[in-house]
Symmetry: C2
Subunit: 354 residues, 2 copies
Amino acid sequence: MPRRPGPGPRRPTIADIAERAGVSKGSVSYALNGNPGLSEPTRRRILAIAEEAGWRPNRAARALSASRAGACGLALARPAHLLAYDPFFPKLISGIEAELSARQVALMLQMVDDVEAEMRALRRWWAERRVDGVLLVDLRVVDPRVPVVEQLGLPAVIVGGPGPTGKLPYFPGHDTQRIRQIVEHLVRLGHRRIDRVAGPAAFAHTQTRTRAFREALARAGAMGTALSTDYTTQAAAAATKKLVERGPVPTAVVYDNDIMAVAGLGVLQEAGLAVPEDVSVVSLEDSILCEVVRPSLTASSWDVEAFGATAAHALVKLIDEASGRPRVNDFTPGVAGPAEPTLVVRASTGPPPG
Amino acid sequence: MPRRPGPGPRRPTIADIAERAGVSKGSVSYALNGNPGLSEPTRRRILAIAEEAGWRPNRAARALSASRAGACGLALARPAHLLAYDPFFPKLISGIEAELSARQVALMLQMVDDVEAEMRALRRWWAERRVDGVLLVDLRVVDPRVPVVEQLGLPAVIVGGPGPTGKLPYFPGHDTQRIRQIVEHLVRLGHRRIDRVAGPAAFAHTQTRTRAFREALARAGAMGTALSTDYTTQAAAAATKKLVERGPVPTAVVYDNDIMAVAGLGVLQEAGLAVPEDVSVVSLEDSILCEVVRPSLTASSWDVEAFGATAAHALVKLIDEASGRPRVNDFTPGVAGPAEPTLVVRASTGPPPG
DNA sequence: CTGAAAGCGCTTACAG
DNA sequence: CTGAAAGCGCTTACAG
């Protein structure tokens, strides 16, 4: 079939550069990759011609000969309508993306309905050499993805943990520390009955948080329970209602993310409880939403972008090692090291009533 | 260099399949692609072996021989902290992604700081054959991306418009219709002084909305102005303050998105204005946030996912046509056609005071 | 210091 | 109906 050049200028290949420079394709490749074995003037001439022609390597060709895709995969097994209201994922993706693109690695993103679909995506990516490795988020207490990537030999890093991570590297968020900071803040204000509206119990990080929550309460001699939700605002509202109706009414409620906190806030106010006079409210995830809502929400702030960047950096290193040719330029992560989590105290927390 | 098999099972190639089936690689390729010129039993045998071996095409190899990347690009030139609170983009991306992945096309996503960086990304993607086409969002009133993609011959589709789209296909949102619905709702309630806190004036869709806003007001014999912002909550708060302080105080304020509406709501309440008794508030973008905030916000709801899917579908078609080999299976868009925009009336709108 | 050649895994006209 | 071969654009040992 005749090659249709299509519109626009033709994109040059090393063959073009070689011809213009009067050398072989191999020499061009050597010059462009900084390999030794080329006289300095020749190298300079080749590079100048490539530069002038606007040459860039064809990724498919490079991927084929290097047996590397030059891409990492991230499949998100949460429905889009949930992702749309959670500022956590955009921040995480942004951090991952910044780190990868600094290393010329692309990010393949796919949104899927559930973990089954995610595993299908992982298998397909790997079978098609679309990716060199993957990032796994939302680790489950029983997680079928871990044995799958291990069996495939697919380099993978867990963004989160600890949990059933097998031999995979994992990067815990600051769950324990953040929960502790919140409980200590509330206890310092005088609260002794602190409940929590949590994320899905099936998530390893929810389990970690719940353990930290119990321990922090026990250490302070305070009481409280955690109700799991599926992260929807409906579930958050229902859980809040349940906490208020069953009694004893908590003097403070912690929500695992900001949008659930806002939903809970509305329910509390409609139940005739003033925030923070009757009930204090804290969000485990900070966002602009926490700032603009009234009363503004006390929230745990942490560096989600650095969290994603760190995991992405580890994945790139893992891929390099697995391929048996570590790259020369192993820079430190492109993003500054993660700052420590801090509790941003706003208007929604105060002393308990009475 | 010796090929390091690495951990995990070896991924089969057509050479393996050919060997097991006792045929040539060409025959395997024919069988797998459904090309004619193969006996039915042979085809079946080959397919069964490929299936059993878990064969999947190596995308790099296919891309190289087909001169196609099998991917589309989307670069978002908004800072991550803004993206993180805007439910529009997750929905849009989800719609694009659903449409593309139904066609086995990958989505390359990159977040960049500004349009300059976006153009650099586009050039690089195209030069490296990383993508077959791109989606352009947030069309500017003067948009430097349009001449660039036209000059490159890079297939592109504008998600939005109309505006300076040159010869590129574009897909307007329902801006005019949505603004009209909002103004008509408010006018019906009796409002005659309606102001608007808008997005950046440099965006073509902001211009479209502002024109529609003026026309709708004029048609109803109502008054009102639009103040532009950079979509930050700070700017929304400042604009709201300005509207309240300069007078005449509007009896209704329209915000170009939900998070700005929530920020404005706080400012209005702190200025001693009750919503909706003194001022009605409407958001041009609906989200769960509008539901959970108190008072809940009247908002314009439209099918952003279908919007993204439609544009993605057009891009795939454009790429097929540009390559000179339209694909056989030109299904209709994978997502159902977009529903008409509707105004979801909640607690934040009511008759004007007096 | 440089060139010719093989190979990465596919696709596809072209012979048999 | 099937096979052998060239080509996509690179990389990289191997000869000269």
